[in-house]
């Protein structure tokens, strides 16, 4: 099924793109990550220009998270109050990110910075998650009731002004999720990803939110931040390809629904271990990409 992409300026196999969307959609349903960290590199690998890939992947992530948010909210899995704070941070972050993006692009180092960010972030987070989930899996059942589980990072407790986040079961300063939102917003703009793979672990391990609202709230944040990113791309780079985004959407909205079902039937420790493995693989691929002779030593940029 050959489909011509009017913005990317080339013909692709539509089925491959739909399947790619479905794969990332399933991930987004299961883990509450947008899947952009997989879509963007894979689209580039398929031959689609990097800016078009990043911009259209952002649009796709919006769609995948809408169905995810609906599915999660039916189960009461979204903390809207927490979500509003991180979204506010995300919008500030996206603006800062756009500035950084242009600066790095002018220097010609944007792709190297993106790769290094991928390696560092995915490597650290994947490692953390992997270790934690393996420990959880090997722990004997009777030891499972951990005595006085630490809720959130000590640093969070030292921030001024505290709000009650009922659904998350937290009494912390809104500054913590705001800062998290800003950081994720910057990364979203720079890396063309939804940032769920940072949001989810940060909510779990740094903020200490209760696990049943983490995925829904992260998706809620991704939904609004990717909308903002799509608009920014449409206005500045003009690289949003509706046909490409549409194909990805067909796959991912379906995948997201399937993913949500899988998520409720598999042990969360296994889910986290799987996500850790995927994240580490992408990080490893990027690391190899930095050290190996790149596929394309030369890159063309229109003047």
């Amino acid at each position: 099924m050959d489909v011509y992409l009017p913005i990317a300026n080339l013909a692709v196999n539509g089925l491959v793109i739909v399947l790619l969307g479905a794969g990332t959609g399933i991930l987004s349903g299961i883990f509450g990550v947008g899947g952009g960290f997989l879509t963007t590199p894979l689209l580039i690998f398929y031959g689609i220009p990097p800016t078009v890939a990043a911009a259209s992947a952002a649009t796709q992530v919006t769609g995948a998270s809408v169905s995810g948010v609906f599915a999660q909210s039916r189960r009461g899995g979204v903390d809207y109050q927490m979500g509003a704070v991180t979204v506010a941070g995300g919008l500030i972050g996206a603006l800062i990110g756009a500035g950084l993006f242009n600066l790095l692009k002018a220097l010609g180092q944007i792709d190297v910075v993106i790769s290094i960010l991928y390696v560092l972030l995915l490597g650290t987070i994947g490692g953390m998650m992997g270790r934690e989930s393996i420990q959880a899996l090997y722990r004997k059942p009777q030891e499972k009731r951990r005595a006085a589980k630490r809720r959130h990072h000590p640093l969070i407790a030292s921030l001024p002004m505290r709000w009650r986040f009922y659904r998350s079961g937290l009494y912390i300063s809104p500054l913590a999720p705001l800062i998290l939102g800003i950081l994720v917003g910057i990364l979203t703009m720079l890396m063309g990803v939804g940032g769920g793979f940072i949001m989810v672990p940060a909510m779990l391990y740094i903020l200490g939110m209760s696990a049943n609202v983490v995925v829904g709230t992260s998706l809620f944040n991704i939904l609004f931040v990717t909308m903002m990113v799509t608009m920014t791309h449409a206005l500045t780079t003009k690289a949003v390809d509706l046909v490409l985004a549409g194909l990805l959407l067909i796959g991912s909205v379906t995948g997201a629904q399937i993913g949500t079902r899988i998520a409720s039937s598999v042990k969360p420790e296994w889910l986290r271990l799987m996500l850790a493995a995927i994240v580490l693989l992408v990080a490893l691929r990027m690391l190899i990409g930095l050290g190996w002779v790149p596929d394309e030593v030369y890159t063309v940029e229109p003047l």
């Binding site: 649009t59 940029e301 003047l303």
Partner: protein, 261 residues
Amino acid sequence: MIRRLLLIPLLAVAAITALPQAALAQARDPILVSEISQHEVLVRQGFTGTELLLFGAILDPDGSRARADYDIVVILRGPNEAIRLREKQQFAGIWINAENTDFRSVPSFFALASSSPVDQIVDQRTAAIYEFGLDYLQLSPTGTIDPEEHARFTAGLVDLRSRMELFQQDEGGVTISEDVLYQARIHLPSNVVVGRYVAETFAVRGGRVIASATSEVQVRKGGFDRVVAEQAQVNSFFYGLLAVALSVFMGWVAGRLFALV
């Protein structure tokens, strides 16, 4: 087309009435008639590239079959672009963009087909004048040029675009039948840019270009794809809103549908 056919005898007459020495040389020059299978390529849904047939005939001025062997070189060029080419180099184990150079006019598409290898039919100087081949492209670099560096960057660009099928060189791609008819097939891949493409045909004999003809192909986007490409540029805000609305709507619909299952 008809006008061009009429022009050729006129030019021949004009040449004969000029200096006798030149007239003698000109009189022996052949008539070159060139044509392309289609003058418009419509890029739309389902477009996966297309093949253009460039064909024509070579005749002696009196209209009889050419008495000597000619070589034919056909070049199809896309619109020129100004580009910046970046080169990655390894620093401390990491490959980063290190150097760059600007070119003012790089053809977005360049395909050469010839009846024999270019270096056998013309010398290097002639090849450079007529840009016979990827080694002789005139890319108009800007700024100070170190010849060695320029050669390296050009080779990098040619390699990149060749692998994207945007630069092609097929020495032997022109077939000549009965010393009269020639034809060449040039493949336009789906990633061509839109614009005016110019096909130039050269008849070469004894290392000299003795006749040439040009024709044009318009590559443009059609239907739905033209609308999308235009709206993305003109109404970017609404285009963005549409993209967001589409994604939210599709996500919502999928959610509703699966809730029913």
